[in-house]
């Protein structure tokens, strides 16, 4: 293999080819879930509760069913009643009866937008009109909208059967879980501290904000089999959860993953999929359902708002000695917030001997939360990374140096689990420290620079891959990992690298649940790591089989055949080296077609770290924040396709900035969502961001054949804190609430100025 720029001798890995699905995507040919159409297809729509908390006394559907063009109306009565049972979906465990109740409410609605009924009709407009004719009799109950209100004694109870260990089997509660993590002795720890900072933070509920709403087309056949076309991050999850909700055998459902318009964790569960099959069963036609943007915001799964109390102490030299955290996360209508991940990721980049974390999962009358890119970690980092910034300020230590001094390395204990193996946290800090951005001087009034760091575990889980070798020496690569951000190109690059082929001679194919072995979600930063591993092994399996064929042709033993630089060779006279192409043309005569395959349950995941620096300018009269410059450094193990790795880093940074500045759910005092549209759910536009500089740091994951670390998530963790720290350095206020929208920041600045003025007045100046 020719030596490449990075010195590791890769020929394909590390280059930037055009992605294989690129032309379809830039010409509009690529089919996303909502683009599918079938003959006789009907359109489904969902009726949703207009109340935050209500009992359903009755549902009358006859008028809706009688509207010309309406072919079916369904409610929870049309789904089997399920027993309480936990099942894995993406990175979370799910209670199936609660999942079903989220898909169609059973007896009780728990948030504004909770699905109550669904119709199928010959046009989406008729379906919409039919919803107006469904009569639901609600008994409205008082809403509980915040963790504080939910945890108060006497709070209205959302789920009468919910219990937690602390409060015992008899006590109705809104607290689903209390987790605790400990290390060392927290009291002794704080005694050793010269500086202590303690703050309380509130972060607002935010949404992943994928541009493509949820969709599903269900086709039920008379033989009891069904096919679902949908945009999902996990076709196998859709299959298993839909089968459970519908009461069908899993093998009777085939899920065909369409192209997907963003997910960020929000499309690792199900909403419309079982409804599409149910309505198809009732009507005998394919049925397409799509969510409107309002439905996406009201009724899919945003991530938790939270309240976090964070107390940390360090010596006067800046050595962290203790951290104590109390955190409560909104689970939404059903248990399952990412508070556990929040508890395990907070302060994870640091070596702190004494730690106590109390974490609470609390139900409230908001939509059931779903994963959002490193779920739980950004909330937590907002607290810990700003407290750390204050401590660094108090010690007079540069924020990067503070992190290097306290940084976790190989052997540092984790909050839960074994000590770290080889990791790249300090490398990311050093990359920021030596970046052109950090080295540049930031000049001007009301401008400040802030640093933040973050951690994410990443996951391994299961993947399958098949390499089909064609007689012309090209290969098709079959995988089950949905491609959200360019991963199919990276998979093809791995296969091409191993097989000695040109990257354009490997055709990656993302396929359905019948055509490939079990593959877990595209999420958890696992696709390059785990599916890449499966692809690597499948390609190696292909090479092994090819060696056997070469051996046959040369009358040698397979162990005597070598493969390198795209050539098969063996010692001996008359042995002419063969390329994969040449050998591929001789498969029939040597035993038949070759398919290489591999499955993995990937172990030894390498966790990810990111460090981000942001420069801001604050308008002192309005509280508006301009992001002047942003640089993110992330340890990616090995960047297979650097452009798409950069893309992940930039995308997460942009989402983190939106989370920091303007994104939040506004519920009124009745618990109704006021901003269920993209006008008032304010995500950053092109005009709100600068170019985002990236530093790819490569510290290989031990044990992985290519050293890959997951890249997709961690970049969203540092930015809220980095922006908060930059604001603090710009105008001297420490913000403890997200988002740091202009009204909040202005109020904080005016208080500070008012305080300063009255201090000055008191001092007689």
């Amino acid at each position: 293999m020719a030596a490449s720029a990075d010195g590791q001798g890769y020929r394909v890995i590390g280059t930037r080819p055009i992605r294989h699905d690129g032309i379809d995507k830039v010409t509009g040919r690529a089919k996303y879930g909502a683009d599918y159409s079938f003959p006789g297809m009907l359109y489904g729509k969902v009726l949703r509760s207009p109340y935050a908390h209500a009992n359903i006394k009755s549902i009358k559907t006859d008028k809706a069913a009688a509207l010309p063009g309406v072919k079916a109306v369904v409610t929870a009565d049309d789904l089997p009643a399920l027993a309480d049972k936990m099942e894995q979906a993406g990175e979370q465990a799910i209670n199936l009866s609660q999942l079903s109740a989220n898909i169609l409410a059973r007896g009780k609605t728990l948030y504004d937008g909770h699905a109550v009924a669904a119709v199928a009709a010959t046009s989406p407009h008729i379906a919409d009109e039919a919803l107006r004719l469904i009569e639901v009799d609600y008994e409205v109950l008082p809403p509980v909208m915040s963790v504080e209100d939910a945890m108060k004694p006497g709070a209205p109870i959302l789920l009468p059967g919910l219990r937690n260990k602390d409060e015992g089997p008899e006590k109705q509660t809104n607290v689903a879980t209390h987790l605790q993590f400990k290390r060392g002795d927290i009291e002794e720890g704080f005694k050793a501290a010269d500086h202590v900072v303690e703050r309380e933070f509130k972060t607002a509920m935010v949404h992943q904000g994928y541009i493509e709403p949820h969709n599903a087309v269900g086709i039920y056949n008379a033989d009891g089999h069904a096919t679902i076309y949908c945009s999902t991050q996990g076709s196998f999850v859709v299959r298993s959860l839909s089968a459970a909700v519908l009461g069908m055998p899993e093998g009777n459902i085939k899920v065909v993953p369409a192209e997907i318009g963003g997910g960020f964790g929000g499309k690792t569960t199900i909403y419309l999929e079982p409804l599409s099959v149910l309505l198809s069963k009732k009507t005998g036609h394919p049925v397409k359902l799509t969510m409107t943007r309002a439905e996406v915001l009201r009724a899919s799964g945003p991530t938790s708002g939270s309240t976090i109390r964070c107390k940390m102490g360090c010596t006067k030299d800046g050595k962290l000695v203790a951290a104590q955290i109390w955190m409560a996360y909104e689970a939404g209508a059903f248990p399952g917030s990412p508070v556990g991940a929040g508890a395990m990721t907070i302060v994870a980049p640091y070596n702190i001997p004494n730690l106590l974390v109390d974490a609470y999962d609390v139900v409230v009358n908001r939509p059931k939360t779903a994963a959002y890119r490193a779920p739980g970690a950004s909330n937590a980092a907002m607290a810990s990374e700003t407290v750390i910034d204050e401590l660094a300020d108090k010690c007079g230590v540069d924020p990067c140096d503070f992190r290097i001094m306290n940084g976790a390395k190989e052997g540092t204990p984790q909050t839960a689990g074994p000590p770290y193996r080889r990791i790249g946290f300090i490398d990311t800090v050093e990359a920021i420290k030596s970046s052109p951005h950090y080295k540049s001087k930031l000049e001007g009034r009301n401008r400040g620079r802030g640093v933040g760091s973050g951690f994410w575990f990443n996951v391994g889980l299961q993947s399958s891959a098949i390499v089909n070798l064609h007689t012309d020496g090209t290969a098709s690569l079959v995988i089950g990992s949905v491609d959200i951000g360019g991963t199919r190109a990276a998979q093809a690059m791995i296969a091409a690298e191993v097989l000695g082929l040109d990257v354009n001679d490997v055709r990656p194919l993302v396929t359905d649940t019948d055509s490939i072995g079990h593959t877990d979600v595209t999420g958890g930063s696992r696709t390059a790591f785990a599916t890449g591993w499966a692809v690597y092994e499948a390609a190696q399996d292909t090479v092994r089989q090819l060696k056997e064929r070469a051996a046959k042709l040369w009358e040698k033993k397979p162990e005597e055949v070598a493969f390198s630089n795209g050539q098969f060779t063996a010692q001996g006279d008359g042995v002419k080296p063969m390329t994969v192409k040449e050998l591929a043309g001789r498969l029939a005569r040597t035993g038949g077609p070759i398919s290489g395959r591999a499955t993995v349950n990937a172990r030894g995941v390498g966790p990810a770290f990111a460090t981000t620096v942001v420069d801001v300018e604050v308008d002192p009269d309005t509280g508006k924040v301009e992001i002047l410059r942003a640089t993110v450094a992330q340890d990616v193990g090995k960047a297979i396709h650097p452009s798409y790795v950069e893309g992940q880093m930039q995308g997460g940074t942009a989402q983190g900035i939106g989370w920091a500045l303007n994104e939040e759910y506004f519920y009124d005092d009745k618990g109704i969502l006021r901003n269920s549209g993209l006008l008032d759910y304010r995500m950053p536009t092109c005009l709100d961001l600068p170019l985002i500089e990236t530093c790819i740091v490569e510290v290989p994951t031990p044990g992985h054949p290519l050293g890959i670390r997951g890249v997709g998530e961690v970049s969203i963790v540092p930015p809220p804190a980095a922006v908060a720290n930059a604001i603090a350095h710009a105008v001297g206020v420490r913000m403890t609430e997200l988002p740091m929208s202009p009204p909040r920041l202005l109020k904080a600045m005016l208080s500070r100025r008012g305080g300063a003025e009255s201090q000055a007045a008191a001092a007689g100046r």
Partner: protein, 188 residues
């Protein structure tokens, strides 16, 4: 139910006739009637730009125009950008710069960018960002999109014409590109 109306319009250069109900938007007419599913629905309120098409030379959100309003008008969608054997420069640059991750916003961005370059062949970074402010992207942070549009503008200005079919070797790294861009040099 109001009867369907016959609408005559020029769509991607072709004289076209289609039937739609007055309540169907241009977006629905394109996607559900004409099967041109390249334009996407993201919000239905004109806040995301995923449905952007060009009508009589102006970029607009097809979700906020009725299909019947297209009568007598010229409509350009993403499906009309490429020639049979070559991509539009913008499409080529989006691929080279990895300006798409999930790709759902890409058709809308391409149309807004085309409308920009049709009116202003030498936009500054600020002008590019302003022209694209009506298109939301959640995946990329816009960085590689802005670079691609700037690069396309340069390529068109230097007269090297339509893009190639799609094979390419390595490009410069993002930091190299950043330094050049920030210094006002051309982005390759």
């Amino acid at each position: 139910m109001a009867k369907k109306v016959v609408v005559e319009a020029t769509i991607n250069g072709e004289q076209t006739e289609f039937l739609c109900e007055p309540r169907q938007s241009l977006l629905e007419a394109l996607r559900d009637v004409l099967e041109l599913t390249g334009s996407k629905e993201g919000c239905l309120t004109g806040d995301c730009g995923a449905c952007t098409v060009i009508v009589d030379g102006r970029p607009l959100c097809s979700c906020l125009m009725l299909g019947v309003e297209a009568q007598g008008k010229t409509v350009e969608t993403v499906e009309g950008l490429a020639k049979p054997d070559s991509l539009h420069v913008l499409q080529q640059k989006f691929l080279e710069h990895a300006s798409l991750q999930c790709g759902i916003c890409t058709p809308g961005f391409l149309m807004s960018a085309k409308a920009l370059l049709d009116h202003n062949p030498k936009p500054t970074e600020g002008e590019i960002r302003y022209a694209l402010a009506g298109n939301l992207c959640r995946c990329t942070g816009y960085d590689k999109i802005v670079r691609a549009v700037a690069d396309a503008a340069q390529t068109l200005a230097s007269g090297t014409g339509q893009g190639r079919g799609g094979r390419l070797g390595s490009g410069p790294s993002a930091s190299e590109q950043t330094e050049r861009f920030l210094q006002g040099q051309e982005v390759k």
